[in-house]
């Protein structure tokens, strides 16, 4: 699964929105999806996100990520379906284990849960693919008063996910090339086959962190009195979008309670 969550500069209207607006968007979608409990509204929310992805010309990336997410979502739904206790029992796969029965409410809950997960991840993917990391840091620091170090930490962690996935791929290949079989045997054996992947990954990540710390220090990271070369201000469109988002959240809260 290759998930690109890097900034993709397509110059769409969505890209031109202020980072703060898009961050509020992602958080608003998160809040609304938590308030919705029925599959249908969640599904509508999900499709509107895909619509926005099309508007931002990042559909291809978002769809390939969504494809990967489907598996996780399916698994999540299955788990909920089997372990949700309330509702009318539709059928019980193992009669002696009543906890494992499938109920009507369980199915709805499982599907909603899976959809909610998809909605939340997609909205953050949208944010990440349409917003350069630098703008995010700036808006976190300037408007949300997050200390620069934390904002930097957050964004660096995100920035390194693609590199990290690339590393995973290369290490996997290097071990496969030495005839290592990652797919072997039962669950315990399967766990053991992970070591040749996990250990080099940890070592490489530590090396990278150390190198990066050194590179940052030599360039004066952490000196007091940081200044910014470029500042960005939200425009009229941003204010309108933010107001709309906040009203949507308010509406969702009112409908729920």
């Amino acid at each position: 699964m290759s998930v690109s969550i890097e900034y993709i500069p397509t110059g769409s209207p969505v890209h031109r929105l202020h980072a703060l607006t898009k961050l509020i968007f992602a958080l608003a979608v998160l809040t609304i999806s938590m308030l919705l409990s029925q599959p249908l509204p969640l599904l509508l929310l999900f499709f509107s996100l895909l619509g926005i992805a099309a508007l931002a010309s990042v559909s291809q990336e978002i769809l390939s990520a969504v494809k990967g997410l489907l598996k996780v979502a399916f698994f999540l739904a299955l788990l909920q379906v089997f372990f949700y206790p309330e509702g009318t029992v539709l059928f019980a796969p193992i009669p002696s284990l009543p906890g494992l029965s499938v109920t009507d409410q369980g199915i709805i809950f499982g599907i909603s849960m899976a959809l909610r997960m998809m909605v939340i991840v997609t909205s953050f993917l949208l944010f990440l693919t349409t917003t350069p990391a630098r703008s995010t840091v700036l808006s976190l620091v300037e408007y949300l008063k997050v200390p620069y170090d934390y904002a930097f930490l957050f964004i660096t962690a995100l920035r390194f996910i693609p590199t990290f996935l690339e590393e995973v791929r290369l290490i996997g290949q290097a071990q496969e090339a030495r005839a290592h079989d990652f797919s072997g045997g039962g669950p315990l054996a399967r766990l053991k086959t992970i070591f040749p992947l996990a250990l080099p990954l940890v070592m490489i990540s530590l090396q990278r962190a150390e190198r990066m710390a050194m590179a940052m220090e030599t360039r004066g990271f952490g000196l007091p009195g940081r200044t910014y070369y470029r500042t960005e201000k939200p425009g009229a469109v941003d204010i309108m979008v933010i107001v709309a988002l906040l009203s949507a959240v308010a509406a969702a809260v009112l409908l729920r309670f």
């Binding site: 590393e167 290949q173 496969e176 090339a177 030495r178 079989d181 080099p200 070592m203």
Partner: protein, 299 residues
């Protein structure tokens, strides 16, 4: 080797295209065949597609379209772990594979995966360690080794598998002169014993000295497939692929304009032909001075 007996190529690449999912078309239709026992250098600028191409030879990457046959079998239909019995691949970065706490076990990882145990395993590992000059570190933690040593450790871990084909992605990068020479000597020796060696490099002198065939890749295409000497005659193609002639080859070409001919590609041969030529010149000049009344009279 069975490939020789049947007369079919060991590796056969047909109309190979590779498109990365998150990127562009890295290989744009490559066709070539490799016979058992060849020693091949793959050259080309950064991002040309060298790594992408060679990773198809052992199934680490699968063709987007086209086919890659290894000993007549379609690599797309076989698991990498099985192809690894025939084709070993040494990655550019040794840290992508090292994970044992003892060098011996790191080198033994591949052979163990192939089912080797006991004395045979120990012999294989020890001789691989010896080949890369790391015997003294046998029981040490690979993490303590220098980067150059770790690189040789990675090489040893593939050598110990004794595969018919060995592919190396920039085996000498980050090695000093002596270490590079040592690595190339190992490869040459393996080649002499019948192994097919394919190495990616940016060092044109290595190509000149050690390869019998060069594949020049540019922009996902195989631009030239020839012996090194012929490649070096096509300076235009080399320059447009972002490469430069090795110094001796360049000097040979410049000297040819002065009527000094040599194509052995070594400093010794060049020096000899220059010396020969200059003694001719000295002889002729002294002849002129003695017999024609001085240089001015000749013009």
């Amino acid at each position: 080797m069975p490939a020789k007996l049947t007369g079919r190529p060991l590796i056969e690449v047909r109309q190979l295209k590779h498109i990365y999912r998150s990127g562009g078309e890295a290989l744009k239709g490559i066709a070539l065949t490799i016979d058992a026992g060849e020693m091949i250098a793959v050259v080309g600028r950064n991002g040309a597609g060298k790594t992408t191409l060679t990773k198809h030879f052992n199934g680490l990457l699968r063709p987007t379209t086209g086919t890659v046959l290894l000993d007549g079998q379609d690599t797309a239909k076989l698991p990498v772990a099985q192809l690894a019995r025939t084709v070993g691949y040494v990655f550019q970065n040794p840290d992508h594979q090292i994970f044992h706490e003892r060098l011996f076990d790191e080198i033994a990882f591949g052979p163990r995966n192939l089912g080797l145990r006991g004395d045979e395993l120990t012999t294989r590992v020890d001789s691989a360690l010896k080949a890369v000059d790391l015997t003294d570190y046998r029981d040490r933690d690979p993490g303590e080794l220098s980067r150059g040593q770790r690189k040789r450790a990675a090489l040893a871990s593939v050598l110990a598998m004794e595969t018919a084909v060995i592919i190396l992605d920039e085996p000498t990068s980050g090695q000093d002169y002596q270490e590079s020479e040592q690595i190339m000597a190992i490869l040459q020796e393996l080649n002499r014993r019948g192994h097919t060696i394919i190495f990616i490099t940016h060092d044109m002198e290595l190509v000149q000295e050690h390869a019998c065939r060069v594949l020049l890749i540019d922009d996902g295409k195989l631009v030239i497939d020839s012996p090194p000497r012929e490649l070096f005659r096509q300076e235009q193609a080399l320059t447009s692929a972002g490469l430069r002639l090795p110094p001796t080859a360049e000097l040979e070409q410049r000297l040819a304009a002065f009527g000094i001919h040599s194509d052995a590609g070594t400093v010794e041969a060049l020096a000899a032909s220059i010396a020969r030529r200059s003694s001719q010149i000295t002889a002729r000049d002294s002849f002129k001075e003695n017999c024609s009344g001085g240089a001015a009279a000749c013009q």
